[in-house]
Symmetry: C2
Subunit: 198 residues, 2 copies
Amino acid sequence: MTKTLERRAKQREALIEAAEKAIFAKGLTGLKSRELATEIGVANGAVFNLVDDMDELILRVGSRTLARLDAALTAAESGGAPLPAEALVRIAVAYCDFAADNLELWRALFEHRMAPDKPVPDWAAEEQMNLFRHIYHPLSKLFPKWSADELGITARSLFASVHGMVSLGLEQKLIAVPVDALRAEIATIVKATIRGLN
Amino acid sequence: MTKTLERRAKQREALIEAAEKAIFAKGLTGLKSRELATEIGVANGAVFNLVDDMDELILRVGSRTLARLDAALTAAESGGAPLPAEALVRIAVAYCDFAADNLELWRALFEHRMAPDKPVPDWAAEEQMNLFRHIYHPLSKLFPKWSADELGITARSLFASVHGMVSLGLEQKLIAVPVDALRAEIATIVKATIRGLN
């Protein structure tokens, strides 16, 4: 029995890794449960003995992406002068770099929609919200008199604003910008916004 | 011959309007050429005598959406104090309102991807770029010494930043925000950014 459970855990891990590779290479639309089954050497239907459905599989891959993003933002936060305004600029630029280096996995975080009437599970929502601390923390040092609500709203707005610049900048559409130029633009806007909020 | 051309022009107009209604109600994924053919009373295949393909049809609907957005931004630009910083805030909030009121049509502008290796036609790209004048113009009054390049880059960044706040704010996902709160947040961030750029 223990061996069966162990084998199942290993297969599940292999499945999530295979899904991660597929999304990295081809995006969410490149994810086919049949191909994943072949890749990890199980029968077609057996994929859904390892995860509930495609939504869960995509969320598990997202969880790994968020953990790597978390590590990148942590490194950026502490990787320079401890001034909170500078830390916020580094964090914004690190977000841009992470998106550029993990384009399809990063896109999948935002493009994935749960099946209708199925809420995002709490564990996944918490992992997402948890990342806001990288913005909230330096902001709270910059604006020690602000309420938690004000800090939360501003953290959300700053994230959304940087996310917009990264998304449209890395898009192959309206506004394609070389990554170096994009980093510089993001730094300029984040610096200006923080200066203006003072 | 003239009558045939006239009828064709009317059918084409009816097709684009039917596609607009379908996208408004159900988003891009709700667009089915079969249903459109029934709606305007032509045979299934005849839709593609009126437009080249689905890409063209979606771009023609996008053209109508952009024209209405253009009108909304023009009204916002002139609808208050002529101070350029205030005009920029009004334009950003008008963009948010337009997106909220035309959610699926607005999403379609960004979600639509041309078939692989088919570039966006020049007329459609020009219509998109043309809208940047609403940001460029007040910016050039605020920063009269900046070069056209600097103004263009900042206009693009401001747009992307507001677009990010609107997209994530109106998303039913990570950060859903009531529209009134979203308008206030956008105004705060745009004001701060402009003040900080000074």
